[in-house]
Symmetry: C2
Subunit: 397 residues, 2 copies
């Protein structure tokens, strides 16, 4: 049987990271490529205790069908959780529990984009959201990232263009892949511009809780007075990514439409995980656990930067992250990035080539993304030492 | 903010069942409306034991990100599980784990349908699949259900029409809502016709394990020699619907495209549930549990039919189900179905009006769907007694 696919299939991109990770099962490989949180950050014992109690006391709640918008107590608790950092989710907002932030990107693209539409997005940025937009037959208008957030002049050009973008995708906290934190000034400006041109904002905040240095900066959602911002937070980095649980909040008009769409996506997100997550948020010492997770990443990030300065210092540049899991390295102009990545892979050190985070993979990039979440320190040191030698081999040509 | 939605949003239907269920929280209501499996069928103690052990021995496997196509050992075990009933999943097929069968319908529609396309489907049938197809801007060509499966003459007309349907949706075992089992003759004919006109088949088998009378009939997938059939089986009715786990098998060409699409849908299905499901299939006494579930439904179905014959006998007609959870009642011509449903609701007895399962809700229906999975026997008797009195009140006019 030769299947005849829809036109959109020709727009579908697979994740090049997932392809890379498939080739990383070799245990000798030192991987800076994956975006997985470190396993030590999962509150395993809390999950085990809570799950066991719930399956004893409320098996039907965990195992029966649930409602599409999510377990009501968890939706309320997610609101409180987000609002520890200010009035992020307003009383007038509606909250939906989703199967990860990825599901929100997919649903936003489906709800807002027709074929041929344009979506504005920080560039580089998370390719999963780019792929969701491409899958709807829409194209991307990239807004270049700088060390304090997207370039505001380009953002205004993009927002004021004809056709108007259907929405603007931004990750203000420790963005993937750049690790950049958008300044308060630029968050305020972003909101002003999107408000002026009436372009909805999709504010992605998966790493928000992972701040390990600097001061908290209010989310763009906090500044919103007119229901312009759809905000998504995730439980992947503080509880478990394998559970696929996130929450999304915004104007009830769009969140209700998202709920109707979610009925056909997966009916509802895993009920058991939702119940465990609710009990975790309400009965465990979440603040202590989050401080513990921040400590882990602070330590790992600091050590990676120490190694980078030792072995690659003076030859590469990067923005020091204030949180999250990534460092974005810019190689010297004379080093061919893809060859550098390949040479490192030959020495069993992996990272993600920067063009994987561009709106067009074919545009050249001088950057690579390193993740410090997984490798133990000794591997980190060895891997970066190898990167240094590979870099030298290119520079000495 | 006034959001401007995509064209497809105007095609979106919510589930009328879910709307109904929302109004059923009144504990005095006797519900024949919901499609939930009965809680007694969940192997709670197995799940509890397995989950506890896994979180102790392999927390990373349960809680870390997984691969999009699913946990490899579970994919292999799903293949063996399906093949207890013959050579359903061939060696050349690929298996993907999905977040319920609903996700398969959504992905099939997205992969195969452009706006304006047509999909062939049994009618009445599961509205969730209809909604997924409508959401892609495609329309439905219904093939009327008879007591032994779809009408084959109409099926041929629909398959040979121009434009050709993008696929044919069928549920051969104890179909929702009719409870009808498609005969072997019609399964064979369905395959022949779809093969002749080269229309892929989406064979939905969520209730396959719930046979409580009659003999097993091979799935259409078993007859497939050319990769025409995409088969989906579910763990919702034998393990837990709240876990949102199903499996889908077919030609690697389409299952690989489904995998790429699933990356943007939800990255992967809940890893923890996948690990628990694998351990359940390989270490628990699954056959004994399934026999127990069949016993529960056999008993409930028999009692509902006894009540129907006692209180509604001679005035309504229905097909006796050989499995599954539903009985499809045809009311006498002179009874206005929607008024009958409303009158029963006034007496706190709920059921789903038959037009909810039609390709066009506005077409009149004389049928209602009753589910026997949830109400205890005494409620079942009371509810059907009330239905009988309501029916009489219409007939005595």
């Amino acid at each position: 049987m030769k299947f005849e696919y829809s036109n959109k299939v020709s727009c579908m991109h697979g994740s090049i990271i997932r392809e890379l990770i498939k080739n990383m099962s070799d245990p000798d490989t030192i991987s800076f490529a994956g975006g997985n949180p470190c396993v030590e950050s999962f509150p395993v014992e809390d999950i085990r205790r809570i799950s066991d109690r719930l399956l004893r006391d409320d098996p039907a709640g965990c195992l029966q069908y649930g409602t599409t918008e999510g377990y009501t107590p968890l939706r309320e608790e997610a609101r409180k959780f987000a609002n520890r950092h200010g009035n992020v989710i307003k009383d007038s907002d509606m909250v939906i529990i989703t199967s990860g932030n990825m599901q929100v990107f997919d649903m936003m693209a489906r709800l807002l984009c027709n074929e041929g539409d344009v979506v504005a997005a920080e560039e580089p940025s998370f390719m999963g959201c780019y792929n969701a937009i491409h899958n709807c037959g829409a194209s991307l208008a990239g807004v270049p990232m700088e060390s304090d957030g997207a370039n505001m002049e380009v953002l205004e050009q993009v927002l004021s263009a004809d056709p108007k973008p259907r929405f603007y995708y931004t990750t203000p906290n420790y963005q993937n892949p750049t690790g950049v934190t958008t300044s308060l000034e630029k968050r305020t400006k972003t909101y002003e511009l999107c408000s002026r041109y009436q372009v909805p904002i999709l504010e992605d905040d998966p790493y928000g809780e992972l701040r390990f240095s600097g001061e908290h900066i209010p989310s763009i959602k906090t500044l919103d007075t007119q229901g312009l911002v759809v905000y998504c937070g995730s439980f992947s980095k503080i509880l478990s990514p394998g559970m696929r649980l996130a929450y999304c909040a915004g104007d009830p008009d769009i969140i209700e439409k998202m709920t109707t769409l979610k009925q056909v996506c997966d009916v509802h997100s895993n009920a058991w995980a939702q119940h465990v997550c609710y009990e975790y948020l309400t009965t465990a010492d979440v603040e202590k656990n989050i401080r513990g997770i921040q400590d882990i990443y602070r330590d790992k990030a600091a050590y990676m930067m120490e190694c980078l300065d030792r072995y690659l210092g003076g030859r590469v540049s990067y923005v020091r992250p204030q949180g999250g899991m990534f460092i974005w390295i810019t190689l010297p102009e004379e080093v061919p990035m893809l060859e550098f990545v390949q040479r490192c892979l030959d020495y069993k050190v992996t990272m993600v080539p920067g063009n994987g985070f561009l709106t067009d993979y074919d545009v050249p990039s001088q950057c690579v993304r390193l993740s410090y979440s997984l490798p133990p320190k000794e591997d980190m040191r060895k891997g970066i030492e190898i990167m240094g030698k590979v870099l030298d081999s290119f520079l000495q040509k």
